[in-house]
Amino acid sequence: MAVQTEKMTINVTMVQAIKDALRTMLEERNDVLLLGEDIGKNGGVFRATEGLLEEFGEHRVIDTPLSESGIAGVSIGMAINGLRPVAEIQFLGFIYPAYDQIMTHATRIRMRTMGRFSVPVVFRAPYGAGVRAPEIHSDSVEALFTHMPGIKVVCPSNPYDAKGLLIAAIEDPDPVLFLEALRLYRSKREEIPSGKYTVEIGKGKRIKEGEDVSVFAWGAMVPIAMEACRRAEKEYGISCDCIDLRTLYPLDRELIAESVQNTGRAVIVHEAHPTTGVGNDVMAIINDTSFLYLKSPIKKVTGFDVPVPFYALENHYLPTPERVLEAIVETYRF
């Protein structure tokens, strides 16, 4: 009898990994469906859902009217009625009309009905600067969501994590905001498992081990941080412990504490604005768990307290390896 070996991995970009996660879950569960603007016939403006309408049909891959609040509200209605909708908001900067539905309903329905109704919905949204997008398209406002109890926020930086986290998000019984860094959609290819697997929500990952300075980052800032860590090692002999946080709520307190208790120094990198940014929550965790281990004040390398600029200036807005490197060196030499 001939034995057929299935191909165990696929070679994909992050956006293809996202599509693979959606495909996997559409296949596995009948209660999963996708909705969003341009996701069906068009396959999504970034091709994140290409071919899924053809494969699963228009009842499971739904092109919606141009109506973010409607998309969010309808998804909530579907979710309380036993389905697992995955709603795409075309850009995170367009989520604001849906904010009311998310803040006053998605996050609260389980609590206010003592679990009688719940909302297993995933809101997917591309975000972030560095791709010369028009105004608003680059907003990175994860902090607006981490602040509201009742929703988890995840932000992968690579194809493997993107697929695993999206599958975990779809399986999560509560709302999840799934952020997709535009700059990373096609920036690299990776060999990832072809079948179903998950990455646990709430767990970060150490991507480079080091002794001297902890560097925390997520999304499109991960490669920036890694580049800075590499140069810190090469040019200054500073050994960095680089952590990709992956989940922004709930943050991986154990990993943050473990890292800082070892290095005694921390640099946090995010492209979102500094005031009320998630970096402050990382600092709070360090304060609460590891204050006496600190050898220097914690540094943040972030965007600025200005609206994300027109793209002619976006390279001045975004953290760069140079800015992160400077922060690492200053922290080390404090």
């Binding site: 469906l33 009217p65 609040s69 509200g73 209605g77 003592m114």
Partner: protein, 356 residues
């Protein structure tokens, strides 16, 4: 602009059946059933106001005057349908099966007041106005997806039609032929803002034209119009014909809530004078009398039964166990995140320390 929409009624203010098409359905049994339901909810409403005045209930939004619209429409539902009410639709949720004491609990600030009976899909009231319309559209689309014939009714007032979600919910439902009945109660005031300031449109029913769905204008104080037209709309919905907008014109005798003073924006004397003419329960009484079905003793027992049920519910509410502090923390996620676990632990031990 000249859009004429006929206002539908089945029984007029004098208690005469004026639409012969429905005469055969208006049996003594049916009419008396409605009378009972109407009396029950009105008794509830008056009791709630009385309790609020005594400090035994928090701020409460009364619905007296709107019983016809709510009882009629709610009675048209099947038991597996969904109801999405507003904060004023206690008559509708009670008619559809919500426990009386649970309704009281909601207005005592108890989260338990949001939980419907196990066998009823009554969603808690959406506080941000009109946000419930897209929910109803989504829940209805899910029913179709699951292959059922269940439908959804969603309630909202005149003010809600100004919100974007009114449009987005109606639009979605009409595009996807979702089995929803959009049931509007136009009582002509959104707290203090009168209908002329709320919209330029002469009716709400005519807004249905924009979505190419049926828009039906009814006399909301005719419980039978509310019942039969809602039933027909639900049937259309179940048959895949999509949503209907029903505008039930009605009147709220009282204030927006017990914390509101309607004399500041409305002629309350006029409001009370209208009662004799338009009251939904008086109308049914007149109908029963016209048809020779009325009996004073029977009416008295109906009132007494209602009072008994309400008193029972008040007793249940007031003997309900005190709220659990755990409930603050335990229902946000299916499995609490570490921040919640930590905060609960710290707070509970703090309470223990200070002796609570």
């Amino acid at each position: 602009m000249n859009i004429t929409i006929e206002k539908k009624r089945i029984v007029d203010e004098a208690g005469n059946i004026i639409d012969p098409n429905y005469e055969k359905y208006l049996t003594e049994d049916l009419i008396k059933q409605f009378y009972r339901k109407l009396v029950l909810v009105r008794t509830f409403d008056r009791k709630a106001i009385s309790l609020q005045r005594q400090g035994r209930l928090g701020t409460y939004p009364p619905f007296e005057g709107q019983e016809g619209a709510q009882v009629g429409s709610a009675s048209a539902l099947e038991k597996d349908d969904w109801m999405f009410p507003t904060y004023r639709d206690h008559a509708a949720i009670i008619t559809f099966g919500q426990k009386l004491s649970t309704v009281f609990l909601y207005w005592q600030g108890r989260v338990e007041g949001c939980v419907p009976p196990e066998d009823r899909k009554i969603f808690p009231p959406a506080v941000p106005i009109a946000t419930q319309l897209p929910h109803a559209a989504g829940a209805a689309m899910a029913e179709v997806y699951k292959g059922s014939k269940n439908a959804c009714i969603v309630y909202f007032g005149d003010g809600a039609t100004s919100e974007g979600d009114f449009h987005e919910g109606m639009n979605f439902a009409s595009v996807f032929k979702a089995p929803v009945v959009f049931f509007n109660q136009n009582n002509r005031y959104a707290i203090s803002v009168p209908i002329e300031r709320q919209m330029n449109s002469r009716t709400i029913a005519q807004k249905a034209i924009a979505y190419d769905i049926p828009g039906i204008l009814i006399d909301g104080n005719d419980v039978f119009a509310a019942y039969f037209y809602t039933k027909e709309a639900l049937e259309r919905a179940r048959n895949g014909e999509g949503p209907t907008l029903i505008e039930a014109q009605t009147w709220r005798y009282g204030a927006h809530t017990t914390a509101d003073d309607p004399t500041k924006y409305r002629n309350q004397e006029e409001s009370l004078k209208k009662r004799e003419q338009i009251d939904p329960i008086l109308r049914v009484e007149r109908l029963l009398k016209n048809l020779g079905y009325w009996n004073d003793d029977w009416a008295e027992t109906v009132q007494r039964d209602a009072e008994d049920k309400i008193e029972q519910a008040v007793r249940e509410m007031e003997s309900y166990p005190k709220p659990k502090v755990d409930d603050l923390f335990d229902y946000v996620f299916e499995s609490p995140t570490w921040t919640i676990v930590d905060q609960k632990r710290e707070y509970m031990s703090f309470l223990e320390k200070i002796g609570e």
